[in-house]
């Protein structure tokens, strides 16, 4: 499923990015970077729209022949970007949403850690484990 998961801060710098096939890491980094444009577009489009889960989940940002990119933004403009391999039988939207929800929950757990300064790179092992679980299940 997820071949790459990235957490982008409000200022659009990455807090956490991890890819499974490490050899193509740079490609995924680039993909995530370009997807930020789409994310911003969607965010601005929503504008004043009701803030609810639906809005947090941006959905498919853009598909390519190899993979699809999904986006999710929190209320504090922290973005989660997930790159999913297209070959995987299309993951249902609900699954993607649940994955983002888990990501969000883990992220909030990190935030609760007083030793974590918002804006720092995320080094939490628990977060890593959760991301690994999400990526592993994909592969």
């Amino acid at each position: 499923m997820a071949v790459c998961i990235a957490v982008i801060a409000k200022e659009n710098y990455p807090l956490y990015i991890r890819s499974i096939p490490t050899e193509n890491e740079l490609k995924f980094h680039y993909t995530v970077h370009t997807s930020l444009d789409v994310v911003d577009e969607k965010i601005s489009a929503m504008g004043k729209a009701l803030v609810d889960q639906r809005e947090l989940y941006l959905g498919l940002l853009y598909p390519t022949e190899d993979y699809k990119v999904y986006g999710y933004v929190t209320n504090s403009k922290v973005k989660f970007v997930m790159v999913v391999d297209s070959s995987n039988t299309a993951l249902r939207d609900n699954e993607i949403r649940s994955m983002f929800r888990k990501l969000h929950n883990s992220y909030t757990d990190i935030m609760c850690n007083p030793f974590y300064n918002p804006g720092d790179r995320i080094h939490s092992r628990a977060f890593d484990n959760m991301v690994t679980s999400m990526m592993m299940q994909v592969c």
């Binding site: 789409v38 577009e41 969607k42 489009a45 929503m46 729209a49 609810d52 889960q53 639906r54 947090l56 940002l61 853009y62 929190t74 209320n75 949403r97 649940s98 983002f100 929800r101 969000h104 929950n105 992220y107 909030t108 757990d109 990190i110 935030m111 609760c112 850690n113 007083p114 030793f115 974590y116 080094h123 939490s124 092992r125 628990a126 484990n129």
Partner: protein, 776 residues
Amino acid sequence: MEGLTLSEAEQRYYCDLFSYCDTESTKKVASSGRVLELFRAAQLPNDVVMQIMELCGATRLGYFGRSQFYIALKLVAVAQTGLPLRVESLNTVKDLPLPRFVVSKNEQESRHTALYSSDADNPASYSGVIPPPPGRIQVKKGSVSHDAVQQRTSADQQESTSPVVSPQQSPPTSPHTWRKHNRHPSGGNNERPLAGPGPFWAPFSEAQPGSSTTSDPIWSGHSPPPHQENWVSFADTPPTSALLTMHPASVQDQTTVRTVASATTANEIRRQSSSYDDPWKITDEQRQYYVNQFKTIQPDLNGFIPGSAAKEFFTKSKLPILELSHIWELSDFDKDGALTLDEFCAAFHLVVARKNGYDLPEKLPESLMPKLIDLEDSAVVPVISEAGEQTGEVGYASSPAEAPPSKSPSMPSLNQTWPELNQSSEDTAIVHPVPIRMTPSKIHMQEMELKRTGSDHANPTSPLLVKPPDLPEENKMSSSVKFTAGNTVTDGYSSSDSYTSDPEQIGSTVTRQRSHSGTSPDNTAPPPPPPRPHQSHSRSSSLDMNRSFSVTPGQQQAGVVAYPPAVPPRPQPSQGPGPHVHRPVDAEGLIAHTSTSPQQIPEQPNFADFSQFEAFAVSGVNKEEEDEIETHSEVLQVEKPSDSASSLRVAKADGRVEDKAPANVPTNAGKGTTPLAPPPKPIRRRLKSEDELRPEAEEHTQKTGVIAAVLASQPSIPRSVGKDKKAIQASIRRNKETNTVLARLNSELQQQLKDVLEERISLEVQLEQLRPFSHL
């Protein structure tokens, strides 16, 4: 570490020794306890051993890695040859004999050392040398299962000094070995750590006193390492802390932070770290210390330490932020950003462990899980389940849930509006005390009404009559629509004293409503559709409602299903609000039901009433019907494929107003007027509506007068049931019609509202979806 070149023999020997010391088979770290024993066996003065340990870097690292071990061994050899210990000597001293390890503590040890020394230079004998030491070590050390290999010999040495410092507190026998086994959670080892786990202790204990006493003087040579003091300061509670044995040099930093407890107590604590069955178990003294520390931050033991305060506190321990962050992750069980006493103790314990060289676990050890009981149980392995669950529950409840799974966005509006509509519809529509079941209710109610026939007619009809007239005029608001629908209906009713007259109006309205809902108007016209299971099935109920509508032209159209011809009419108000209260689907069902009532009317004598309805509807509700149709179509669109709804509407409209369908979407807002027709289920209603519309049209006109008559005759219906069947039926029909009309109106209005809302949402969604494409 300086590069260490070992000869082959040395390599082998060291490797064997390392394996020997690698009690935990980590292949990387030698058990510090074993290493310590080994060094002791080297018969080197303590200070030399200390020096060796420092040089090899074990002190720095806190454990004996393979390289450290090798270096240490080499240094031992260097020392044994009498050369000064220098780092340079590692590689410069050539032809260094292999280090000799003499076990002088007991016969076994001596035997082993003999083996060692004898075979020191013989590679082949290494294997022979090796086995004995384990036995020796075992004897000496008792349980070899050091869980944490990081027990440094330095720490041991330092700890060994602790008995010197506080000899009275712990038997001097225990110092080293005991320290090494500190990790073993042998709780009762305060006195005689040797008495701890395993049979090994026994032989060792015998040997220990002697050996330890001998070792004591050796160790006593060491000045109390600052670590002790650190630990002492760190733990101002009476001795027990098993972790005290661990003190790494970094603990020194904690002296500044922690209150300095008596060195003796600290030593004792360190010494009594034998409570190490579970390496993470907190001893009583430790716990007490933690609790005291907790109090300094938060006097209330049941309170929380906020994250910031905890951060400050633990930062003083000088652990790297990353590790502190991990410790926090482990210990903040409920992820609430604050530490309870248990969590604080766990965190503190982890900090101490980490400072003593233990690696942080990936998951919180069981013994550190927050307990429910804070103060009572300390060293006992806490019952995690209760405490953890409770704290966890509390914590999770308070933990921020930023991404709570929410329902699908498409539903909320509908779901939210339904209860509101229900309430409103009930309030507005119900005049009759008859309870209304909102969802599948229509059919049920209609049936009830059909059965009742008599008294209900009068009452329900009146409100029904009141409502319809307003329908045509007002738009959009369900309540207003309801009222209007009701008014129109009532007007229709009032226009005719009996249902016979009303049916026409009602019928018209019903038909119109049916056109909206798709069921009611149609139901009346054609022969009643085959009985459907009423109640609880919105769709079926919708059909039934149609039937009931048709059946109860004279009645208030309350009955949802008029399967049996004699279904007593439901109180009309119940019918009225009923359909409106449903969710869009249900409303449709209701409306369908209401529409069924008119449909059923033809089957029954009540059918005549429907014509009243229709006439009434036609008269007063034409516009509203259009609106209703459109609104219904909107509602349907929202809930179901709009096509069906619009087609439904169209179908219905064909009966009366044929141009309404196209205007469905745009005119949603105000339409929902036809009081009788709840948003029709697309397909069924379509069929029915088509069928019903035509006959209804006919009937309505006829029934308008009938309805009025029925209404008037309602009170008399029960009496005349047996006698004036026609009157009864008419009244029944009238009531039914009224009910259905009102119900339909209610539901339609509600649906319209919901439809509008849903449309809005869908449009918004579409807009959002379209936006990215616009950019591409």
